[in-house]
Subunit: 212 residues, 4 copies
DNA sequence: CATGAATGAGAGTTCATTCAT
DNA sequence: AATGAATGAACTCTCATTCAT
């Protein structure tokens, strides 16, 4: 009754795998996905060989980090749905709360290379689609509640989301954190249904527009 | 009484320099600042030797591209100031109009490496400070006009600006372009002084907060 | 009064040893002696650890395969001696019959590395010397019978033997097999005492010339 | 009016290319085609980078050595045809004379890897086919002359040729050289039309049988 | 001056061998 | 005793930079 292959790993192997993933998450977030494999290994406290035994090449590692991240975000999204009383509130909570979870995947997406890797992986595509479905529900619901402006769709929100969550490199830790929170705040005010809003240019962007 | 060094270049050398810069701008925008020097040279139609004669190393090239870009943005900012009737309008125009000019420098900034290079160059720092001064005037003026929300400062606006102008990699050309315009639209509505706005978290970010 | 170490092995250990040897023989024959140890282990159905417990390093494994092979050839040579009515016939039979037995050792000898290993191992040297002695008897006898040309000695025959038994890589299985048999046939006709033979160049090569 | 790309190389580049090829020929012959690239470069008196600039990877180098070798053999074959008075003599001369030229290509062919590389290269295939054509003429002619046994065809001769020219690794330089010459001598006697010959087993092997 | 060849340090990856489970 | 995980040295290949032509 053993499920996914990860379960079959010996205890120590499992631990190493997790350490590598954690190290990669942090390092990718800080320096992008092109850092020397050796550095990731060292920071995970293992030899390169071990890293390569777990992840046959850099692409595999990037994919694994991405999957891990999508999992987390998805968990958050479901929690938001369950615990918030309105779709608008769930959307906002997701934006605010996922900030840190998203951090590394956002950075991973900054590299053209990573982009190619991720978009060509069916497992990741599936996770992404699942997330988009959840968001779509939030968007529709929040619009029905009259709180989200009507001239946007899931694609718009997702892009805004992705854009803002992309951390500014450099700057002190504290300023960076605050800047992100404030940007999100401004953006939320921009998303709010309000008489003062100008009509947006072009056409509504849907989830389908996010596919390459 | 020799003018700046660029002026002293022979016509063909000058042409080479410009071609290299143009090629680098395009390639940096498309693939980030880590592309092989040889590729840049080839795309500029010169040999690597020539590239290195003009720019002693990669950092020098990145700096030159950045300077070139800041120049353009600054020119735009001044035009906006001269031609628009209010500071709010100038700010909005700058946001919309600089979109394309900013494109390459934004991408250059995506690389942690480029960041370090740029922030440590006094010439670029000077250009950046000059730009911030202009923006500061816009921000103050627009708040005085009652059009820009009062709980933001130049730092907030600059960061938002930088965040949104960072292009989404992948996606079709058309969607990318539209997405950016719509994000800017939403952001502008978020920046607008309005009763519906929630107070922003943390403290106001000033131009000073942008220094590392 | 313990017999040789192999006898002391537990039944399962013994089985493992044999499987490894068999697998190595096949793989060395097919791909040369540089294949990853892991691949040999896998093909033998054991873990690498087990392989290394039995054979401390690659050289030991190569040596063991070689010993195993010399044993077989020697057995064949003795059978030929016992069962054939003349030395010439015994020699020919050995050439024809050993073809397949020799196959893997010949391939093993293709690698300069294997060569060094084998020639420096006293046990293998002993087996080889024993084989050369048997061949020497065949050669002398066949010459006394007037069937083997007189201007060759054991060294010549052994080298010819080794040369021809070295399988052509590539080619279909069937062609390869036939090519070897036909080459052997031509060689045998060349070895035959005949008036049409040209005198061979240089000097006769003896068994002693085979030592490095 | 510049012909092949090699002609376009700058004088120094050309010299380096030749040195690399010469070094590779010697080293491949002595140690097989798996030696570290660095060793080849060192032995050619250049840096690895230079080696890689000329030959993008090991396969390309192996191919180049093979082409170079086929060229030489082909030249020899044509000279033999022009200068010898009979096809039988031309064949024998080719066997004897090409001994050294063939040396490295034969060794290159010993590695399964090299085999794959070479057989998949159309340029090399063309050279090989050309050589086979020349040999076919020799074989037919020598049979018409009544000097070459009638029960062989080009495939048989080529394989014999290739087999014997494959140098024995190890052994002293002098013994190796002599052994090869004597093996060739024996083989030639085996090829000679003679009443004492036994009929060969199987069927005649033609040039077509040499294709994989 | 422009060019592109040469160099060599460094990154990615593999694999022999050791060792914890 | 068997297994397969971990290690790190060795090797391949790339590319920034220098230098001969």
């Amino acid at each position: 009754m053993t499920a996914d292959p990860e379960t079959r790993l010996r205890a120590d192997a499992r631990r190493n795998r997790d350490q590598i993933l954690a190290a990669a998450r942090v390092i990718f977030a800080a320096q992008g996905p092109e850092v020397p494999m050796e550095e990731i290994a060292r920071s995970a406290g293992v030899g390169v060989g071990t890293l390569y035994r777990r992840f046959p090449d850099r692409d595999a590692l990037i994919r694994a980090v991405a999957v891990d991240n999508f999992d987390r975000v998805l968990r958050d999204a479901k929690a938001a749905k369950d615990q918030e009383s309105s779709d608008w509130d769930a959307l906002i909570r997701l934006l605010h709360q996922s900030m840190e979870l998203q951090l590394s995947i956002q950075l991973a997406m900054v590299s053209p290379r990573a982009l190619v890797i991720l978009t060509s992986d069916p497992a990741i595509k599936a996770l992404r689609d699942e997330l988009l479905l959840v968001m779509e529900a939030f968007v529709r619901g929040a619009q029905a509640e009259g709180r989200l402006r009507a001239d946007v769709a899931t694609g718009d929100v997702a892009i805004l989301f992705a854009t803002v969550l992309r951390q500014m490199p450099g700057k002190g830790e504290e300023v960076a954190r605050m800047a992100t929170r404030r940007c999100i705040g401004i953006m939320i005010d921009g998303l709010r249904a309000a008489d003062s809003n100008e009509p947006l240019p072009g056409r509504v962007l849907t989830a389908a527009d996010l596919n390459p």
